[in-house]
């Protein structure tokens, strides 16, 4: 017999890249589970099937497609899409229909302020994104005292920046520059010239891959040399090094997950096993998007197994609410709003052309390079 999940993801449009990665994560999980005979509920084995739709990176379409999943395909187990806007729109639909969603693709805090009962997210929320990079600089010498924060004016990045600011201030750093810029901007020269005037020790960019690349290039152009240069999105993606070559060196990034984390996992055995399986299937390294997809699905599966039912949403919800297990994504627990707690972020740094996990210490592969050397 089959157990059917549904997912409306961005397979085309501006989020096509991330959407596809999340889908890869789901697919890998599906294969792994089915190879083992499927999900075991009440002594029966259910083969996993996932129905996919493409929301074209349009949240409204996403909502429509989730509605299709629920009403036409009769699926109530929804795997989340990628992107906060999409999760926003689609989770409103699952909530209305009493379907349930586990998502590993959105980190906005606002998602959990709506009193939804049926939404669970495994990403560390945006406002906590930069905490660990800031944490990392503590007690290092020469001491960092000032920080500049720039962010793209979208939901996710704004929250990341807010959190970064709060965290910086909490850690006694002085925020000397705090400014947003339009999403997907093609030029940041003015911002960078202004930052240069402030000469901050730490520069934190909260944006997306495109603007991160522009920012790195222009920081080098204008010879701005902070002790720490960190981004919320970018350094964790393999394209970062491909695009920037040597200029990517020593840049920090925060990661929901990295390949080198040493966690156990109920489906794959461990994070390392997951990475191996992923590489075998897709001939490339997994990143936190795909791993998030896989992890969300794993957690969903475990909750269903615990609930002992494939269609009693209340039971599954209860199982998720009381969830407490180690997975490839870390030790997962949810608070009453459905957001993951205490998972934390990993910090990576580009060293010798590859990402190395450098923080927190108990998962670090090597020590961080601090301060960042000047541009070549």
């Amino acid at each position: 017999e089959e157990i059917v999940f549904g997912a409306a993801l961005s397979l085309t449009g501006k989020l096509a890249k991330e959407g596809t990665l999340v889908k890869n994560g789901y697919e890998l999980w599906k294969e792994a589970v089915n190879k083992k005979g499927g999900i075991k509920v009440g002594g029966k084995n259910y083969t996993v099937k996932i129905i996919y739709y493409d929301d074209e990176s349009d949240p409204n379409r996403g909502a429509k497609l989730v509605e299709k999943l629920i009403t036409v395909d009769k699926v109530k187990l929804i795997l989340g899409p990628y992107g906060s806007e999409s999760v926003f729109a689609t989770s409103a639909i699952t909530e209305k229909y009493g379907a349930i969603m586990v998502q590993g693709g959105a980190a906005a805090d606002k998602l959990y302020t709506r009193n939804f009962k049926n939404l669970f997210g495994i990403y560390t929320v945006a406002t906590e994104y930069m905490d660990d990079i800031i944490e990392l600089t503590k007690g290092k010498s020469p001491k960092s005292e000032t920080v500049a924060i720039v962010y793209s004016n979208d939901l996710f990045s704004t929250e990341v920046a807010k959190g970064a600011k709060r965290s910086a201030e909490k850690n006694g750093l002085k925020v000397v520059f705090y400014q947003d810029y339009p999403k997907g901007t093609q030029d940041l020269s003015t911002v960078i010239v202004q930052i240069k005037g402030k000469n901050p020790d730490i520069i934190l960019g909260c944006g997306h891959f495109q603007d991160t690349i522009v920012m790195v290039k222009q920081l080098k152009d204008y010879k701005v040399n902070p002790k720490v240069l960190g981004f919320s999105v970018g350094p964790t993606l393999p394209d970062f090094v491909n695009s920037l070559k040597g200029d990517a060196e020593n840049i920090f990034g925060s990661a929901q997950w990295t390949m080198t984390l040493k966690y156990k996992d109920p489906v794959f055995g461990s994070n390392q096993e997951f990475v191996k399986a992923y590489k075998a299937k897709y001939k490339e390294d997994p990143n936190y998007h795909s791993a998030g997809g896989t992890a969300a699905a794993v957690i969903f599966q475990r909750a269903i197994e615990k609930a002992g039912s494939i269609d009693d949403i209340a039971k599954i919800r209860a199982a998720l609410s009381s969830f407490n297990e180690e997975t490839l994504y870390g030790k997962i627990k949810f608070d009453s709003t459905g957001k993951v707690t205490g998972k934390g972020m990993a910090v990576v740094q580009i060293i010798g052309g590859t990402q190395k996990t450098v923080f927190p210490d108990y998962v670090a592969e090597t020590k961080p390079i601090y301060p960042k050397p000047q541009w070549k």
Binding site: K64, F88, A92, K96, N153, L155, K183
Partner: protein, 319 residues
């Protein structure tokens, strides 16, 4: 002939009214979305088709309507239906004010100016973080009730919005003003020396257009319950709207509506069939529509369908 058309229209209406009791929630949503586009296209057609001013950025008023409803329901707890007249009003007033300088432009220039306005409003909304939530978007209160009920509710509300647009277009096309607008479309100098107060009528046409689109925006916001500037201002909406108007025929009352139905339903079918390549297929589809039926379905197949007509069209429009 005319009677037949009217009967057909009412028949179509009757089907729409009973449909919610037959089809699934998903298809209801597809239809609601279709109504949404039909409202936007029909409403915009007053300025675009009737008056000949290609208000490409008319979606601006859709966004404004959406935010009016959004802000009113969240910040001031105003009931949803009460916000709709305000959506209309805000579109009307805004277009009325902007129309005076902008409607001096013609053709492409006007089209671009409206896009400029749309983008400007979007950026302003994006930056008014206090009231609109800026780029973080705005979460509207979710309507209470059974999903079944909610979806029928929006289905009918959106349908009424569409019918209102069609009705207003119909009235305009029948009365004196309709003649003025059509005259303006072709030649403004000639229209003005014949006694038509062209700035007034143009502005009026745009304002009415904007009001209708504004209402659609208001309903959309409450329906989707989450809005952000990037989705309600622009995206693919303007082009889709234009494609619908052209597909159905810009000079007719029901053309845009028919265009909306055809395009939405076709793309829906295409979407579900060709998951990986649907974008390419959709692009090719639009190209083919343009190549073979550039005058819109109405004009082209007035006297029945034939392949020769398609070829003739191709020959007539090519160099």
């Amino acid at each position: 002939m005319k009677d037949k058309k009217i009967i057909l229209f009412f028949l179509f209406l009757a089907v729409l009214i009973f449909l919610p009791y037959i089809v699934s929630g998903y298809w209801l949503r597809v239809l609601t979305q279709t109504f949404l586009f039909a409202s936007i296209a029909t409403g915009s057609n007053i300025i675009i088709g009737f008056t000949g001013y290609p208000a490409f950025g008319n979606i601006a008023f859709f966004g404004v309507g959406a935010y009016v409803t959004g802000v009113m329901t969240t910040t001031y707890n105003v009931p949803f239906l009460v916000t709709l007249p305000f959506c209309a009003l805000s579109g009307f007033v805004l277009a009325g004010i902007l129309g005076i300088p902008i409607l001096r432009l013609k053709g492409h220039y006007f089209a671009i100016a409206t896009v400029g306005i749309m983008e400007t409003i979007k950026e302003i909304v994006d930056n008014m973080v206090e009231t609109t939530g800026g780029g973080m978007g705005l979460t509207l209160p979710i309507m209470v009730g059974e999903p079944e009920f909610i979806y029928k509710y929006f289905y009918y509300v959106m349908m009424l919005c569409m019918l209102l647009s069609v009705l207003i277009c119909y009235i305009i096309s029948r009365i004196k003003i309709g003649y003025a607008l059509r005259a303006i479309r072709v030649d403004e100098d000639a229209a003005s020396v014949m006694g038509i107060n062209t700035p007034l009528y143009k502005t009026l046409a745009w304002a009415v257009s904007a009001a209708l689109v504004g209402i659609a925006g208001g309903i959309y916001a409450y329906w989707l319950s989450y809005i952000d500037p990037h989705t309600v201002f622009g995206g693919t909406y303007p082009v889709k709207m234009f494609a619908m108007i052209l597909l159905g025929g810009a000079t007719t009352v029901t053309g845009p509506l028919i265009g909306a139905f055809i395009l939405e339903i076709i793309s829906e079918l295409v979407w579900s069939k060709f998951i990986a390549i649907h974008g390419m297929v959709l692009g090719l589809l639009i190209i083919c529509i343009i190549l073979f039926i550039p005058k819109g379905i109405f004009e082209t197949f007035k006297g029945g369908f034939s392949f020769r007509k398609l070829l003739n069209n191709l020959r007539e429009n090519s160099l």
